[in-house]
C-alpha cells in the first residue's frame, strides 16, 4: 500500500514537472481539457500544432511504457451506456468550467487561484456524490 503512495508522489512530481516545463518554456498553462477542447471546437487556431504535439506525447509514451514493463489496466466499466454518459459529462463540464484536474487542480491551486480551488472543491464533492449514488445506491458501477 505504502509503495503505491510513493509511486503516486513520484508520478505526481513528473506531472508537476511537465506542467512546469510547459509554463516556463512555452508560456502556457498545462490543462488537458483546454488543450483537447481547443482542438475539438477549433478555438485553438494557430496553436493547433503545439497542442497536437502535446497530445502525441501524452498518447504515445504511455503506450510504449505499457507495451514494455509498466502494469496497465484501466479497469474501466464495460457498460458502454455508463461510459458514454460519463464521457459526455466530463467533456461538457470541463469546457464549461474552463478546466479539469490538471488545469484547475494542479496549475490553478499551485498559484493560489480562487477559481482553481473552487472548481477542485466542486468536482471532488460531485465525484464523491457520484460514486456514492451510482455505486452504493443504484449499483451501476
Amino acid at each position: 500500500m505504502q509503495t503505491e503512495w510513493l509511486w503516486g508522489l513520484a508520478g505526481g512530481g513528473l506531472i508537476g514537472s511537465a506542467g512546469a516545463l510547459y509554463l516556463l518554456v512555452n508560456g502556457r498553462i498545462m490543462g488537458a481539457s483546454g488543450i483537447i477542447g481547443g482542438l475539438v471546437d477549433g478555438s485553438a487556431g494557430s496553436q493547433w500544432a503545439e497542442r497536437a504535439s502535446f497530445l502525441v506525447g501524452l498518447f504515445v509514451v504511455p503506450a510504449l511504457l505499457a507495451l514494455t514493463f509498466v502494469a496497465h489496466d484501466t479497469h474501466a466499466t464495460s457498460n458502454l451506456v455508463v461510459i458514454s454518459a460519463a464521457g459526455l459529462l466530463v467533456g461538457v463540464g470541463t469546457r464549461l468550467a474552463n478546466g479539469c484536474t490538471s488545469g484547475h487542480g494542479v496549475c490553478g491551486i499551485s498559484r493560489l487561484s480562487v477559481r482553481g480551488l473552487a472548481a477542485t472543491v466542486f468536482y471532488i464533492l460531485a465525484g464523491g456524490l457520484s460514486v456514492v449514488l451510482f455505486r452504493h445506491v443504484l449499483g451501476v458501477i
Binding site: 506542467g19 512555452n26 487561484s113
Partner: protein
C-alpha cells in the same frame, strides 16, 4: 521548437499519470469513495504535482517564457455559475467512470472499447460545450 517542448511535456505528463496509477479507474474511484475501501493515492499525486508547479509559478515573476511571448496574466479571482455548474457536471462524470481528460488520452492505447468510447463521448461533449455555454448565457441574462 514549441512543438518539441510540447511533445516533451506531454510525454512527461503521460509517464507521470501512468506511474502514479491515475490511468487506473479503480484508484480514482477508490479515492472518491469515502464509504468504500478509501484509497489515498490521489492526494499524494496532487501534492507531488502541485509542489514543482508552485516553484515554477514563483519563477515566472519578472521573467518571460523560454521561447518568447508572455506568461499568463494574474488569475481571475471571481467565481461564476459556469465554473460551478461545469465542475459539478465534470465531477459527476469523473466519479461515474474514474477518468478525466488527461488519463483518458494517456490510457487510450490499452483502454479497449471502453476507453475509446469514453474519449469519443468526451470529444462530443467538448464539441457541444460552446452551444451549451451560449444557452446558459441566455438563461442567465433572462433571470
Amino acid at each position: 521548437m514549441r512543438n518539441l517542448f510540447a511533445l516533451l511535456s506531454g510525454s512527461l505528463f503521460g509517464t507521470g499519470l501512468l506511474l502514479s496509477g491515475m490511468t487506473d479507474t479503480t484508484r480514482v474511484q477508490g479515492w472518491l469513495d469515502i464509504f468504500g475501501a478509501w484509497d489515498p493515492t490521489l492526494a499524494f499525486v496532487m501534492g507531488g504535482a502541485i509542489l514543482p508547479m508552485a516553484i515554477a509559478w514563483r519563477f515566472t515573476q519578472g521573467r518571460n517564457p523560454g521561447l518568447g511571448g508572455q506568461f499568463p496574466g494574474k488569475p481571475v479571482q471571481r467565481l461564476d455559475s459556469k465554473l460551478i455548474l461545469g465542475s459539478v457536471l465534470f465531477g459527476m462524470g469523473w466519479g461515474l467512470a474514474g477518468l478525466c481528460p488527461g488519463p483518458a488520452i494517456a490510457s487510450l492505447s490499452f483502454g479497449g472499447i471502453s476507453g475509446l468510447t469514453f474519449a469519443a463521448a468526451m470529444a462530443a461533449g467538448m464539441a457541444a460545450a460552446p452551444f451549451v455555454r451560449t444557452r446558459l448565457d441566455g438563461v442567465v441574462a433572462a433571470v
